[in-house]
């Protein structure tokens, strides 16, 4: 409290490293291709927690029916070792899928393509587990007409639905949080998509996690200040030690962004 007269109370902005999982290992692609190996998810997750990450997201990018058991075992291992909340996503399509993950210690789950194809899934999940654990992940891309559209299947399939319409509908159905990934920005390290992030964050009554494009610490300031995001998510800049989480949070604090730093 001495050198800093900015001692804000209240809910903090969250920094969330995202770990893409394939066959039990962490990988991260650039614009969803070119996968690179970045380590053991449990060890890496525990390290991030220690460095001050506020939450973790694990996305199983090869989630198939036969891999489901592997994922739940991994989730169980994560929840034994990690003392902060975490979200699990990838190929989740039913109440049963979610039930297994939550029983193994996941705090939230994220749904994407399956929820778009069958929006009733969101309501079923909300009724069964509460909206606080239902995160809707949206991959979105700005087209030449200036509108943001929803993409499915890890960004491979375009839809004609506007991002803002789908997000609003999903929140009405019971989604408790939106994880918004801009495909235009993902992997570029040129900054987050401030316009669509701000649109969702100021119009929806649920938190928005901004993802895609975070390359410098100032980008995070921008996504919180201008984009009004509740959380900022990134992957490779953390995995490849281009930016330390502790260092990022100190920078944010210096810019008067309210973040969690334990003295």
């Amino acid at each position: 409290m001495t050198e800093n007269n900015y001692a804000a109370r209240g809910l903090t902005k969250r920094i969330i490293p995202c770990l893409d999982i394939k066959d039990g290992r962490t990988v991260k692609g650039t614009n969803f291709v070119d996968l690179r190996d970045a380590g053991d998810p449990v060890e890496l997750g525990a390290l991030y927690a220690q460095q001050g990450a506020d939450e973790l997201v694990f996305l199983d990018i090869t989630a198939t029916v036969e891999k489901r058991k592997t994922l739940s075992e991994l989730v169980n291992k994560i929840s034994h070792h990690i003392n902060i909340p975490f979200t699990v996503g990838g190929g989740i399509a039913s109440v049963e899928d979610v039930s297994v993950l939550l029983q193994n210690g996941a705090d939230k789950i994220s749904v994407n393509t399956a929820a778009y194809k069958r929006p009733g899934l969101i309501r079923e999940l909300e009724r069964s587990f509460g909206s606080q654990c239902v995160v809707l992940a949206i991959d979105t891309k700005k087209e030449e007409d200036g509108e943001w559209y929803v993409y499915l299947n890890g960004g491979r399939t375009k839809t004609e639905t506007r991002c803002v319409d789908w997000a609003r509908h999903a929140v009405e159905l019971g989604a408790g949080e939106i994880l918004l990934t801009s495909m235009n920005h993902d992997g570029t390290k040129q900054g987050f998509a401030l316009d669509i992030t701000r649109t969702l964050a100021t119009q929806l009554p649920v938190p928005v996690i901004a993802s895609g494009g975070g390359g410098t610490m100032q980008h995070f300031v921008d996504v919180f200040e201008e984009g009004k995001a509740d959380a900022g998510l990134a992957a490779s800049i953390f995995h490849f030690k281009e930016m330390g989480i502790g260092e990022l949070k100190q920078y944010l604090k210096g810019k008067a962004v309210n973040v969690r730093i334990e003295e």
């Binding site: 903090t12 003392n83 210690g105 408790g176 009554p205 938190p207 509740d230 969690r260 334990e262």
Partner: protein, 229 residues
């Protein structure tokens, strides 16, 4: 030391169990009355909805059992709310161990206060530099989101539950309803307005946040409950 977690129809029981394992404690998850009565310490967790949780407890007479417990009891999140007198969540009469009422966060009330304050600031600004007034650009106030999800400070910490925990430490919260401040408040947090983030009466303790998900701070609080209370 026998540590028992009350088993009922509310989530996060596994997470509490794993968190205790991380600090080297074993616990039994059970709804067996004798086992709960015989425990040295009891944890009453919970994520979910108040009325269905109360109904579940009543059907199994667990509501009466909790009242009879003489050993230290720690309610977590919904568990703490159920230990209060009443919850606005589906107008539920709760256990009544803590006299505090559980209410829904109402951000519009916060907005009203904000506008009052804003109006006052504007008046002061007018008096001091009236020429600047025309240039004031209205900044859209970010929507306060309900439920509160994320890390927030705890302060005005009391009792040995918070031994070694610094004022303003951060804990992880997920909740749309809150317990008002009252005589049993032993920790305060600000969201929309100051509210009780922990309560204490006799052998009963309750925390609104999730110690099992609140990093080292949360682990220390669980440890304090096990070792000091």
């Amino acid at each position: 030391m026998v540590l028992t977690i009350i088993k009922y129809n509310a989530g996060n029981i596994q997470s509490v169990l794993y968190a205790l394992e991380r600090i080297g404690m074993e616990a039994v998850v059970t709804d067996d009355h004798e086992a709960i009565m015989a425990a040295d310490k009891v944890i009453f967790p919970g994520v979910g909805e108040a009325s269905s949780a109360m109904r579940y407890l009543q059907e199994r007479n667990l509501d009466k059992l909790i009242w009879q417990l003489k050993q230290p009891v720690l309610g977590i999140c919904l568990g703490m709310q159920l230990m209060c007198r009443y919850s606005e969540e589906n107008n539920t009469d709760c256990l009544g161990i803590f006299d505090e009422k559980v209410k829904l966060f109402r951000p519009e009330e916060h907005a009203k206060r904000h506008h009052l304050l804003h109006g006052l600031n504007e008046m002061l600004a007018m008096r001091e530099a009236s020429m600047l007034r025309d240039n004031v650009e209205e900044e859209a106030e970010p929507v306060l989101k309900i439920p509160q999800i994320g890390w927030n400070n705890i302060y005005n910490l009391k009792t040995s539950l918070f031994e070694g925990i610094k004022e303003e430490s951060y804990c992880y919260f997920v909740h749309g309803y809150y317990a008002a401040l009252g005589e049993h408040t032993i920790a305060t947090t600000d969201y929309v307005q100051p509210y009780s983030s922990a309560l204490h009466r006799d052998n009963f303790y309750g925390v609104q946040f999730h110690p099992e998900k609140s990093a080292e701070v949360g682990e220390r609080i669980l440890k304090n409950f096990v070792e000091l209370i």
